[in-house]
Every structure is written in structure tokens, then in C-alpha cells.
Symmetry: C2
Subunit: 263 residues, 2 copies
């Protein structure tokens, strides 16, 4: 199913793993910034895989091999199905993100991961990371930091889901996604969504109809521009106020705006 890219070492260039990571578009988010030549190692990335849009990288309950995945390019969604067959999306993941960090402890995948577009992942041998070699300490340290940051990210997700108003959740979602893309060098106010409205709804705990209406609501407030799956953030401050639970318009303008709510 997956189209394996042969290990780079088969090309005969021993150091090409390193240079691969060095030239990687995600900008070394998945590696420590102070990585030295000795710390980097040909065994770090075992192989790369190409996953086509709609293909699964792993399925829920799959046994975790001694490998982790880092997304090189593209994007994934992770999801579970509840007892009614309803999809619950636990996250969207883009280049530089690790996948399956939640599965290390239990050795089984807790969700399924499917590519939202044609993507590439790097396989990282987890057991190798913990082999105890001293030169791997910085990598290991970085990896623990990634684990910790993943906890923080999940907590942010949970925080967002505790918003009572759906508008807050959607604003947080758009801001968070844009921010993560911006961190990787993309435009800080324009994103192309690779997931459907249904996926967004299943992530936010809403219905696709609500997502559609809420997006239109944000558009009507001149906070975003929506063109199919391309979203342009027009007023990031306003969105942040919305996400924080307030209203988008500063207080001194809110009255006149409330009166003239007709287009």
C-alpha cells in the first residue's frame, strides 16, 4: 500500500541522512537545534515512506513497532470511531509533527492516522533512541521535550473544547492551525485547509452545518475571507478576542455595530 522510498544509505552516500534532515522543509522542528555531526547518526531516520491522500499510516489498535513517525511533508488526521460509528478527530498533523507519541506507553495505536494529501513520513527507530549511547543524549532530551510539548498541545486542544460557544472553538482552531503553519514558514494569515468541513466538525465537537454557518458568521464580521478550503484571516486580533471568549469588536464600537447588523 505505502510506497517505500529506499533508505538513503542505499545510494552510497553515508551522510545523506544528515543532509536530508538539514535540507528538510520543516526546518528541523523534529530535531534538536543544537544537533552536532556526531549526534546525528545514519541510523536516525530508518526510511521514508510516501503515503497517498486517503491512505492510512496506521490503524487504531495496531501494534506499535519500535518506530515513530515524523511528518516530512503533507498532513494527516488522527481519529477514532465511537460506538455509533461516529468519527472523532483527535488532531490534525502537519510537517514537523511527530505521530503516535501517545502510543509509546501502551505499545498500541490509540487512533488511526490517514493522509489528508499526498505526504511523506520519516520512520524513527524509537528503541535506538533509548539504546543508552551517550552521544544520543541531546536527541533523547529533545525527544522528551517533544513529548512534553505534545502534552501541552493536547491540553490546549482540551482547553479549546471547554469553550461553551462554538464560535470560540472555531476561532481557536483557525488561529492555532495558522500559527502552526506560520511556524513552518507559511503565510501567517492564509491557510489552505486539507480537511473537510466534516473533519473540522468532528474535531471541534460540532456538526458540519454549524461549521459552515460559523464560518459565514466570521466572514460577515470581516474576520476571515472564505473561499472553499482557502481561509484568509483578516483580523487576527478580533479572532483572538473571540477565541478568548469576548466579542470580536472592541467595546467602544460594539454598540453601533450591534445596531447596524443589517449587512
Amino acid at each position: 500500500m505505502n510506497h517505500m522510498i529506499p533508505p538513503v544509505s542505499s545510494t552510497g552516500i553515508a551522510s545523506s541522512y544528515k543532509s536530508d534532515c538539514a535540507t528538510c522543509l520543516v526546518g528541523r522542528i523534529c530535531l534538536p537545534s543544537n544537533l552536532t555531526d556526531t549526534a546525528s547518526d545514519a541510523n536516525m531516520v530508518k526510511r521514508r515512506s510516501r503515503i497517498l491522500r486517503g491512505e492510512h499510516l496506521f490503524q487504531v489498535d495496531d501494534l506499535v513497532g519500535a518506530r515513530l513517525y515524523a511528518i516530512r511533508c503533507g498532513s494527516f488526521k488522527t481519529y477514532q470511531l465511537d460506538s455509533n460509528g461516529q468519527q472523532r478527530v483527535s488532531g490534525f498533523h502537519i510537517g514537523g509533527d511527530y505521530l503516535a507519541l501517545d502510543a509509546i506507553g501502551l505499545q498500541r495505536h490509540r487512533c488511526s492516522a490517514v493522509a489528508l494529501e499526498d505526504s511523506e513520513v520519516c520512520e524513527i527507530p524509537y528503541s535506538y533512541l533509548n539504546s543508552g549511547k551517550e552521544q544520543l543524549l541531546p536527541l533523547q532530551q529533545h525527544f522528551q521535550n517533544m513529548l512534553s510539548k505534545e502534552i501541552a498541545r493536547e491540553q490546549n486542544n482540551a482547553l479549546m473544547l471547554r469553550s461553551t460557544r462554538a464560535e470560540q472553538r472555531l476561532s481557536s482552531f483557525l488561529l492555532g492551525l495558522t500559527w502552526r503553519y506560520a511556524e513552518r514558514g507559511y503565510s501567517p494569515n492564509c491557510i489552505r485547509l486539507h480537511m473537510s468541513r466534516q473533519d473540522i466538525a468532528d474535531f471541534l465537537g460540532l456538526t458540519p452545518e454549524s461549521v459552515s454557518r460559523l464560518l459565514f458568521g466570521l466572514k460577515r464580521q470581516n474576520l476571515v475571507e472564505v473561499c472553499r478550503r482557502t481561509i484568509t484571516l483578516l483580523n487576527i486580533d478580533g479572532l483572538e478576542r473571540l477565541a478568548a471568549g469576548g466579542i470580536a469588536i472592541p467595546a467602544n464600537q460594539s454598540e453601533e455595530m450591534a445596531d447596524s447588523d443589517a449587512d
Copy 2:
């Protein structure tokens, strides 16, 4: 503010750290099960602190020292305040849980932790864990598993919060808390809540009024018994069906129950 318990080594018994952990009521959840004498080390637990009910263990934005906390007994809530001053509870933590695992990566606490009852925590020097000593490998491995499991737990939280119906969220909350207490040897169907209805509401993304009404609803369905802050689970299967998004009563009984809703 905190009432420090002097390090056990001050008693002159060198090995008392180990025996402390061995006799700890939480049953070594925070330590690897295959812990050997050599792996255990007098430096593992730096000191213990007693935190009285209502006292803070740390505050949001506090710098993280090179220490982690493991709860020895008692319970905590972690929370943030949003821009409206509204409390958002990110989690409840009981004996055996680590605290501040989310703060390692960023070196700053992302939430405040306050004791819900008189409690004790063990301080674990994080830097020591990563000092690279070979005999610490199992501890380190265990610690990474704890990090991974914490991600999984947060994902479960987020999953619960994606339930559209508040009844599902409350059922999941009760089941999860009971399960965690049962894991530590408490009764599998009776819990004493140390948090207020407001705290529960702030954790579930609801209002205290809704929590109160929903608890009464569960009581009316004979799923739980509620006596102030003591909750007895009468029908765990039914609660699990509710939590999963179905109805509590099996299909063949639901009609007659629906008719006789007058008590």
C-alpha cells in the same frame, strides 16, 4: 507556605527512600514495576512536601526548576484563567499521578495547581533522570512511558469534550475518576469528590447548574446515588453506554421506561 518534610536521609537511614516508595500507598504507579535495588537510588526523591487544602503547588508561568512532582497522597486540580477571569480546569490529579509533565518542554508551568485536600507530593529531580547514568535507563524508560500515557490521557479528555451531549461528558468523567481510584485500590463504584460542582463544570465545559441537573438525571435513571459529594455508581454498564453516546437502558427496556417517567 508549604510545610516541608525533611529529606528522609536526615533520619540517618540511607535506604529509606526506597522503602518509602516500596510502602507507598499509590502502589508504585510512578515507578517502574521492575525496579531493582540498584536502579532505585537515594537521589530519586529529593524531598517531600505537604500541601494543605487550598494551597498552591505552583502557579501558571512559574519557572520550572529541574524538578517534577509525583502525588503521594491527596488530590489536586490544575487550572488556568481565561481573559474573562473564568476558570478552566485542565485536570484532576490523584495519588500516583505526576504533575507538571506538560511543563518540561517549555520550562514554564502552563497552569496552576492547587490542593483539593491536604496532600503530599514527592519532588523528583528531573535533571538527575537525564544525567545519562546507565542504571537509570529503566527509570528513564518508565518516565517516557509516563509522558506518553499522559498524552493518551489528555487525548481521552479531549475525546470526552467532543461529546455533543453533556450527559456523555459527565458519565465519562465519573467513570474515568472511579476507574483511576479503583486502579489505586479504592472501591470501584463509590467515590468521594474533593472538588466542587463548579470545578467539575469548569472541567467539563458546562455550568454548575447543568452539572447539578445532570447528576439528578443520572440519579433518576438509577445509574448513580448522589449524596452531597459522595457518588455511588449503581449501573456501570449503563453509564458506559451513556458515555459512549447511546442510551443507558438496553433497547428492549427503553420503551416501558420512557412511558413511566413519572416517579
